[in-house]
């Protein structure tokens, strides 16, 4: 079965699923699974070396002949899309079921499959105009998915912000593709690396795709959108949709020539974004906002890899460039997997407790053992700890950066600060997920909702288990994935010659396996000892306090206080506190809020100014006929004067 046949099966199934989505949820699920399986099979075929699939039709859509292409680079993203798309669809059957959400569940199913179709189109179309159409439809589908819960004002506001930012990006893309078409004389896309005059267009593409990718500081829409969307939608948006932005930057930095500074800018933006993103994440008390900021961090890591590869291309030092690129590409998969797992896990927590606030959870591991284990697995992966997949790709990026630093060329100036920033970000990420896991799962329940929490059902657990299995698979089989990564890298830019798997990789897999085995043995020993000798339960030492309550526990704020202090200039926390006073203090309050600094301090004031200026300009539009005639007279007069000056002077 060729990739083309598989893709057409997938397309037919997906279109049928759109029709079935409203009324027939079971058929919808089977069709979505079929479509995703077909797309996954097609991408695996391409990645396994079956060669790129290309299809040109004489049929013209919107005046342009249809041209589809699936090479290793887009197959890499398509594989992730189909896996997460299918898992999220299964998850939504229980999480956003017809019984709980009779109003929005049917809409959600149609929007879900439409979003998958549009993203698959973005990955496969090879015509600028069609790309724009698919891109726009993809953004709009994302909006409808995000605002499934229409009754929720926060979700609506997040949807507006998402739509606005998305369109700001699309505007840049309109300029990008139109200028490209003007320069090349055709909307057809493909490699055009021998046209140096196209290089400045890279900045437009970087802005347009960077907004979607959540590249710091263009990430302003991302935290609220990911936090307020239904969890399976957050998983898709964070795991896959922002990767479309990454894909765009990758695709067009590979196909078009890039400016001299492109690699440096990407490394700088990526490194600072990784650090600042996770710092913002660490201080959040909303679990999903924390995860959302963590996505900003991981996108930063991906961009460091890509930027490094661009610098390597400039300097002709391909070996470390391809390491960095492979790290970035692998991180696309890894982040897609573990972040979807975490978002689905947070969905399971919200399903059980009805809140996203960490300060209302606590003690959930007893009540939700499956979710706890799966979330912890995701947390270990996202923190970049061995033996899971996050470690592998970050390690590849580090390896590339260290090799670059060792060259002692100008590239070292980018590599060393980037490595330091990534290392700091990694440490903060570890702290952030230690905070999230411990506050949510350990200790005593902090609210009645947490006390009465229940484990999620099989339809929610199954997809999470599948994604967790993918995380483990990606961690232990880097040598199996290496040829696929090399194919994608050479599709990105053939100037990067494939290198053999770094010798350390198989050793790394061995170390990972050993570590995992040791951890498993340790857990087994602990469990067997506990069952043999029994566990004595008693109150923890409470400083002699007579009436301990669950509120006397470490809070999220206690974890992040010190980092909040270090980065106060960036976070600008807003605090309101009335401290307890006197011998017998009455009630006291302490409220802390972390604003989204870029949005509230930069984008907000600028937007307010534009709105104010527009309001002034709008006063000209008042409906008085006489004044409109005066405008015409003034206009004619001005034109007359211009012509007069032009002719007689």
């Amino acid at each position: 079965m060729t990739a083309g046949f598989l893709l057409s099966v997938g397309a037919v199934a997906a279109v049928a699923a759109t029709a079935a989505g409203r009324r027939l949820p079971r058929i919808w699920l089977s069709l979505v699974s079929l479509a995703c399986a077909a797309a996954l099979a097609a991408s695996v075929r391409v990645l396994a070396g079956a060669g790129e699939w290309e299809w040109r039709s004489t049929y013209a859509l919107a005046g342009q002949p249809v041209h589809l292409r699936l090479d290793a680079l887009s197959a890499l993203f398509l594989a992730l899309l189909s896996f997460i798309g299918c898992s999220g669809a299964v998850f939504s059957r229980e999480y956003w079921s017809d019984e709980h959400k009779p109003d929005s569940a049917p809409r959600g199913r149609v929007a879900w499959i439409s979003m998958l179709i549009c993203m698959a189109l973005v990955l496969t179309v090879s015509n600028g105009l069609h790309f724009l159409i698919a891109w726009e439809l993809f953004a709009v589908c994302g909006y409808f998915l995000l605002t499934l819960d229409r009754g929720n004002g926060d979700a609506r506001a997040a949807g507006w912000l998402y739509l606005t930012c998305s369109h700001a990006g699309t505007l840049a893309l309109f300029a990008f593709f139109s200028l490209l078409a003007v320069h090349t004389g055709s909307w057809d896309l493909g490699p055009m690396r021998d046209r140096p005059e196209l290089a400045p267009l890279f900045w437009l593409a970087l802005f347009g795709f960077g907004v979607k990718a959540g590249l710091f500081p263009l990430h302003v829409w991302l935290p609220s959108a990911h936090a307020n969307a239904p969890s399976h939608v957050s998983a898709l948006m964070s795991g896959v949709a922002i990767k479309m932005g990454v894909y765009g930057v990758l695709r067009f930095s590979g196909w078009l020539p890039t400016p001299q500074a492109a690699g440096w800018v990407l490394v700088a933006l990526g490194a600072s974004g990784a650090l600042f993103g996770i710092v913002f994440g660490f201080v959040q008390n909303d679990l999903k906002r924390l995860l959302a900021y963590c996505s900003v961090e991981n996108v930063g890591i991906i961009f460091v890899g890509l930027g490094g590869a661009l610098i390597a291309l400039r300097h002709g030092e391909a070996p470390w460039g391809i390491l960095l690129l492979a790290g970035a590409l692998l991180h696309v998969w890894n982040h897609g997997a573990f972040k979807s797992l975490l978002f689905l896990g947070s969905g399971s927590l919200m399903h059980a407790t009805g809140t996203r606030e960490l300060s209302r959870m606590g003690g959930l591991w007893r009540r939700m053992p499956w979710s706890t284990v799966l979330f912890a697995l995701g947390a270990v992966a996202v923190a970049g700890l061995p033996p899971l997949n996050g470690f592998v790709s970050e390690w590849l990026v580090y390896l590339g950066l260290f090799q670059a630093a060792a060259t002692r060329t100008v590239a070292a100036w980018a590599a060393v600060p980037a490595a330091i920033a990534l290392a700091t970000a990694g440490a903060v990420a570890l702290a952030a997920f230690a905070k999230a896991s411990s506050v949510a799962f350990l200790g005593a329940p902090r609210s009645d909702a947490a006390h009465n929490a229940h484990e999620c059902g099989p339809l929610m657990r199954g997809p999470m288990l599948a994604i967790a299995a993918l995380c483990i698979l990606l961690a232990f089989l880097p040598s199996l994935l290496w040829p696929a990564l090399m194919r994608a890298a050479s599709d990105w830019n053939p100037a990067l010659t494939a290198v053999a798997l770094p010798a350390a990789m198989p050793a790394l897999a061995l170390i990972q396996a050993t570590l995992a085995a040791i951890a498993a043995v340790a857990v087994l020993l602990l469990v067997s000892r506990a069952t043999k000798t029994g566990v004595r339960r008693g109150p923890t030492w409470d400083c002699g306090f007579a009436a301990p309550t669950p509120r006397i526990q470490y809070t999220g704020g206690s974890f992040s206080g010190i980092v909040e202090g270090w980065f106060g200039w960036l976070l600008q926390p807003q605090r309101f506190a009335s401290d307890p006073r006197g011998t017998l203090p009455t009630s006291s309050v302490r409220v802390a809020r972390i604003p989204e600094t870029v949005l509230e301090r930069i984008v907000g004031p600028v937007a307010a100014f534009v709105t104010g200026a527009s309001a002034i300009a709008r006063r000209l539009q008042h409906g008085r006929l006489q004044a409109y005639l005066l405008y015409i007279l003034a206009g004619v007069f001005l034109v007359g004067i211009t012509v007069f000056l032009g002719v007689f002077l």
Partner: protein, 213 residues
């Protein structure tokens, strides 16, 4: 011949000022009608030879501008049953000053324009410019729909005067077409005036602001 033409153009310019200064709708309509008839005679004076089409257009203009359009306006005024007073945005004295200033500026400007030698001594260009300006002042400075129609007619008269410069170059059919347009336009406006009256109980165009969105 040229002196007679200039005299007529001068008369039209005087009528402009009269239109700006008149405070009652019937006077305004009558002024516009008179100006239209003055303009209608002009093709006969410009065309050196006697030609039937010219006579026909001239006759049609006089009848159209001097009789049909004013009677349509009067009828609209009667059926809408409106106040005969004109309510100005720009007062009569400022309007007159603007009109006079505009006329002087038009004369000065036409001196500066690079005209063909045969038009150099003619008052047609300043007359046309002055009428266009007057029309605009009326359109901008009056509130009632009918007085605005009159402003529009004067504006159109200015354009007609420009057209006379080209009478040898353009077929008269074009002039006839313009005339037909104007007549239909006034006819339509007459209907709209009636509708506005029914919808808003007034012909004050200021009330149209509620329609702006």
């Amino acid at each position: 011949m040229n002196e007679t033409l200039n005299l007529l153009v001068g008369m039209a310019m005087g009528l402009n000022l009269l239109a700006l200064g008149s405070g009652r709708l019937p006077t305004l309509i009558r002024t516009v009608a008179l100006q239209g008839m003055t303009l209608g005679i002009m093709p006969l004076l410009i065309e050196p030879r006697f030609e039937w089409p010219v006579v026909l257009v001239s006759f049609a203009t006089v009848v159209g501008k001097g009789w049909i359009i004013p009677s349509l306006l009067r009828r609209a005024m009667r059926t809408a049953n409106i106040d005969r007073e004109i309510e100005p945005f720009i007062g009569f004295v400022p309007s007159l000053l603007l009109g006079a200033g505009g006329t002087i500026a038009a004369v000065a400007l036409s001196r500066a324009l690079p005209l063909l030698p045969e038009h150099a001594g003619s008052m047609l260009v300043p007359g046309a410019l002055a009428s266009v300006l007057t029309g605009f002042v009326l359109l901008i400075g009056r509130t009632k729909a009918i007085s605005q129609v009159c402003g529009y007619l004067i504006l159109e008269n200015g354009i007609y005067l420009f057209g006379l410069l080209l009478i040898q170059a353009t077929p008269l059919l074009v002039d006839a077409g313009i005339l037909l347009d104007v007549t239909v336009g006034v006819f339509v406006i007459g209907i709209i005036v009636d509708r506005i009256q029914r919808a808003f109980d007034s012909l004050d165009t200021r009330k149209l602001t509620v329609l702006r969105e």
